[in-house]
Amino acid sequence: MSDLLYMVLVAPFKDMAGSPAFLVEVLIGGVFAGLMYSLVALGFVLIYKASGVFNFAQGVMVLFAALTLVGLLERGAPVVVALALTAAVMVGLAYAIERVVLRPLVNQPQIILFMATIGLNFFLEGFGEMAWGANVKKLDIGIPDRSFIVRGVQINELELTAAVTAAVLVTLLALFFQTTRIGLALRAVADDHEAALSIGIPLKTIWVVVWSVAGVVAIVAGLMWGAKSGVQFSLSLIALKALPVLILGGFESVPGAIVGGLIIGVGEKLGEVYWGPLVGGAIENWFAYVLALAFLLVRPQGLFGEKIIERV
């Protein structure tokens, strides 16, 4: 028993203290991974903020965006043109979703909208496969993928680029929500569809805007994850990595998606490296959920979520 306690409570910390450069490397790895999760979580947050809908199709939107981008690149489009065309496709998709899926379901219970996004998920997956094929595609837009050493700590250029990109994106989104009229309107729509409509906020336009922004975020996420693993259908599964981030950070908070991502990223890497070997490894997937659940018990609305107050 005392051996077990030592292995769990003492040995990992001795290991950390004994090799601080490696600990820093693990922490940096966690920060970078967390920011990559945040990129995916942001898409969920945007749509949830504006419509109260948990968009089951967000992972597939990342895949669809990446497939479109790489498909255009393979056909010889220059990077800038391919990015612009992919953004146009995602805006077009947002318009189509508003017209075909959301508009007929205005004021329906949220569970109905959620079910609609499940349908959307499978449609986009099948359509993407039909349009662009199922093969793994290399995504090369010139982001370097080498590593360099700083004081004994190895840093990967691709992950560093992704981290900086995520940080810039979040800053822009936070400014968009806090300082623009559309941002204010988005928050009003998220609070109450009918109330927002009654004061003249164009619900349809807001939905198109927010799904478009989520589409653009999906392009960035698809770009980074696609550069990491190639563009393939498993990309849609990264939504699973965003869920604990959302639970922890709160479904309506852009900063929450970032802080949640960082906590999950660092937590799972520390867990896997220092405690994983005690149980045979491969704990990081479920460890992230345990971490999120632990936060949930203390703060059900997540770290940055709005506290739910029901008056009766």
Binding site: K138, D145, N156, S229, G230, Q232, K269, V273, A282, E284
Partner: protein
């Protein structure tokens, strides 16, 4: 017609049409079901496998008029590499009286093992599935020739020893096994652990959870460990990420060796130049320079019946060739059975005899246009793994090249372990051991 009506119509048609049908069975034909995964996350691996089977069976029908004039009927069922869907496919196609099935998934194989003797359908899990089923005395209906995961792991260790200068040079070396955290990924562990004890090398086991999109923690541990050799048992996106991570942290790629499911074109292309030098185990040679490929082009693709359509460049890829060999072994097992039971559609029991008496010689491989594509193979009642050998291939940035001789597994270590495991697994199914001596 409203938009909604059109959508409902499309949906209804999709449901009614069901899975794609390559060729339906007619009277006087022999039926082989194809469990395929052309869609979903594992489709990049599933497509060349499905196309290899389809092209080879079409070749036999078009060039030879079937197996000794008995045509092969085959039908695909899409399972997305999902065990539940795979079993559903098997159950659906069982009504067409199949004589054998290639599950192409270790998970599905495990589910079909107990069904095989009941349904009288041979299960051929070529280089995957449950290693213990190689003991034919306990598992008469399951075949995993030409090699098992355990033999492969031992061949890998032997290769490392060859590179290091002998088995005695393994002492003190550090070998890491990065594996998919599933029954498949774990298969090699007992053999590696046994060999680590015998040859005093330091083995580290690192599991990667499905799907393996994020492996940073694993590769951080690799960086700290700094192993002499890395062995990877992955599948799907895990492979691409592993090769890329290995390249990006600066591991010597010629010391990273995937198992034979971790060494396809798909696994290395996303990593670009970083994948150069990466190696993998294999038991079928890559490339489209064999005579069988000329036959496939002439009798299948020139007639517009090729599974890849006009995209002939993919003929000869690693997984395509592996399935061509798999299909050839299926056909030759049926042909062997016909020597005893006649040139007519056979039952599963008759085909099982053909599998158990399969003898592919060098001469036969030459006749089939596959000399050098695989090693001669002999299967017996006791040994359903056969006497297969492995080799190592290496990615040069554009294609896979064979870089080793054929490697004999360490059979005196693997076989006793395998027999002990077979007893344990068979007991779970209440099987009794048969006496092969009485069947000769």
């Amino acid at each position: 017609m409203t938009l909604r009506a059109v959508l409902v119509g499309i949906l209804a048609l999709t449901v009614v049409a069901g899975p794609s049908v390559a060729r339906v069975q007619a009277a006087g034909e022999i039926f082989i079901p194809l469990l395929v995964y052309r869609t979903g996350p594992y489709a990049p691996n599933g497509i060349p496998i499905a196309n290899g089977a389809s092209d080879y069976f079409t070749l036999v029908n078009e060039r030879d008029g079937g197996i000794n004039t008995v045509k092969i009927a085959f039908e695909e069922c899409e399972d997305q590499y999902d065990t539940k869907q795979g079993v559903e496919c098997y159950e659906r196609l069982k009504a067409k009286n199949p004589v054998l099935v290639n599950p192409y998934s270790t998970g599905i194989t495990y589910q079909l093992i107990p069904k095989a003797p009941v349904d009288k359908i041979v299960v051929h899990s070529m280089g995957y599935g449950m290693t213990a089923t190689a003991d034919g005395r306990w598992f008469p209906w399951v075949f995993n020739f030409p090699m098992t995961y355990w033999s492969q792991a031992s061949a890998f260790v032997k290769y490392v020893a060859q590179q290091e200068g002998g088995m005695d040079k393994l002492k003190g070396k550090k070998i890491a096994h990065i594996f998919h955290n599933s029954p498949y990924g774990k298969e090699a562990n007992p053999t590696l652990e046994d060999l680590a004890r015998r040859h005093a090398f330091e083995l580290t086991l690192l599991a990667v959870d499905h799907p393996g999109q994020e492996q940073k923690a694993t590769w951080l541990q690799i960086r700290r460990l700094n192993p002499d050799w890395i062995y990877i048992s992955g599948w799907g996106v895990m492979n691409q990420v592993a090769v890329k991570e290995a390249g990006s942290i600066g591991v010597k790629m010629d010391r990273v060796v995937g198992n034979w499911w971790t060494g396809t074109e798909t696994d290395v292309i996303p990593a670009g130049d970083a994948a150069k030098g990466y190696k993998s185990m294999a038991f079928t040679a890559p490339g489209a320079e064999f005579k069988v490929h000329q036959d496939i082009f002439k009798h299948v693709y020139d007639k517009g019946k090729g599974a890849y359509g006009n995209d002939r460049a993919k003929v000869g890829e690693v997984l395509y060739n592996r399935m061509v060999v798999n299909a050839m072994l299926n056909v030759e097992a049926i042909r062997t059975a016909m020597t005893k039971y006649g040139n007519k559609p056979l039952t599963g029991e008759q085909v099982r005899w053909g599998f158990e008496n399969l003898n592919i010689t060098d001469k036969r491989l030459e006749e089939l246009g596959m000399k050098g594509m695989m090693r001669p193979l002999r299967v017996t009642c006791e040994n359903h793994e056969g006497n297969g050998l492995a080799f190592v291939q290496q990615w040069d940035g554009k294609k896979w090249n064979v870089v080793s001789d054929w490697i004999e597994p360490i059979r005196d270590v693997v076989r006793p372990k395998l027999e002990a495991e077979a007893v344990a697994e068979a007991k779970k199914l209440n099987y009794t051991m048969r006496d092969c001596a009485k069947e000769k």
